[in-house]
Symmetry: C2
Subunit: 267 residues, 2 copies
């Protein structure tokens, strides 16, 4: 019966046309359609999302000053920190902290006695050493002072743009700007040159570690220097730093602003 | 020719069995298979990832104490905060902060004069008011003191489990535990009952706001109470709180631990 023969051929054509049609499965499964994200080379997405959660939690603990002293970032957060530092996250956080600082600065009634001070730390606050850290695993390697000093000696650190804007703004509002850094007095010239080259000018004091300050914890060194400022009659209203040791201790500022830095920890 | 008739029937059965087989399409499309994430109802994934970045940046700023005073969470972070508070992120952060506090507590050489103190705040530190906040948009609604007091009056706040473990641990290490809360003296009984019901016992002092403390900023009220402790000869070594106003000010503890809380801000 040719009718059945025809029907059989028709059926075969039908089946194959359905099988090769690209729209068949997508339509068939449209009720399950979901957006797609890139798969990471070394693991599934669930695993990757778990790691993101863990590393974000770790980073939150860094920024909230909850972590006990640490020497390197967690091995498993190496990619996370690299992606954060080179991607949009770090930029967003830098912009937010400068914006909030700017809002606060504008609320201050700056006196006309030139005694209202804003303190800035230098490394990872005004200047970015990202080119150095990109060669050293973004905090995955234990800090090497000798290597880092070679980098500082080149005077090639970059301006952190949102900090540069804040810097100009607090100056124009009438604050005195004091720079308070853990860099050594021996690095004064290259530091001044580097700062000026990328747009930082007109600070009132640049305080570096002198011979007697080496070996002091940053918290102690910086607190002592702030105490001296208070003794000289200055009012410390704002303080910007990427380390909690820039901000805590004694003689603290009225408001302080913690810039993001998940790469290293200075006690 | 029954042969063709048979073939036709066979083909029909084959086609339908393929169509209804759940594995058919997934195998056919395996070369396009990618991990899937849930689609958000109101936007694409790129937009959603952008929002996640923004809201994570906002949350980082909350936890790092960079934000100027705020009354509600950003409208656009409503889902983000809800997901964080009810999902894995909040739990992870709570566990991390208690673990770090525990590591620190064990390094302390607790004296045998019963003068070493660990301070705990109560709300969102020992006790969770999540059932209340889930009914009030997780911080999206402006704080309503009258409504919140009704909730407190029920005495139904939950234990924050990682804090309960830390609480028992610092007690067993020999610390005295002082509870220092912005709750009112009028809420003493229900607070004691609530704390005991969920496992908090054996504190040494429970300090609430008395009549003269109402209207004081939390930072001032808590600093004054810490100063009194120092005058009584206590050494404040640890302090756990979900607000920076629990931790900053004067007479600060040796180490402080900031529990996560993106839902509200107390100055």
């Amino acid at each position: 019966m040719p009718k059945f023969k025809k029907m059989g051929s028709l059926m075969i054509i039908l089946v194959f046309s359905m099988l090769i049609s690209p729209s068949f499965c997508s339509q068939e499964s449209s009720q399950f359609r979901r957006p797609m994200i890139l798969e990471y080379p070394d693991g599934g997405v669930a695993e990757q999302e778990e790691m993101n959660l863990e590393c974000t939690s770790w980073r939150i603990a860094v920024e909230a000053n909850n972590l006990n002293p640490w020497k390197t970032i967690p091995q498993e957060c190496a990619d996370y920190v690299k992606n954060y530092m080179t991607g949009k996250g770090y930029k967003l956080d830098l912009e937010r902290v400068s914006n909030e600082a700017s809002v606060f600065a504008k609320t201050v009634n700056v006196g006309d006695d030139s005694k209202d001070v804003w303190i800035f730390d230098i490394d990872e606050t005004l200047l970015s050493n990202l080119p150095y850290y990109s060669d050293h695993g973004y905090g995955l390697e234990v800090f090497n002072g000798v290597e880092f000093d070679k980098w500082v000696g080149k005077g090639m650190a970059l301006a952190i743009e949102p900090s540069l804007r804040l810097y100009h703004e607090v100056l124009s509002l009438g604050f005195k700007v004091f720079l308070l850094t853990g860099r050594s007095e021996r690095q004064r010239d290259v530091t001044v040159q580097n700062l000026m080259n990328v747009g930082f000018k007109n600070w009132d004091k640049l305080i570096l570690r002198d011979t007697e300050d080496h070996g002091k914890l940053a918290t102690i060194f910086k607190s002592e220097k702030r105490t001296e400022m208070l003794k000289e009659g200055f009012r410390i209203l704002g303080n910007s730093g990427d380390q909690w040791s820039d901000l805590l201790g004694h003689s603290m500022s009225t408001r302080s602003f913690k810039l993001p830095n998940p790469m290293y920890y200075i006690p």
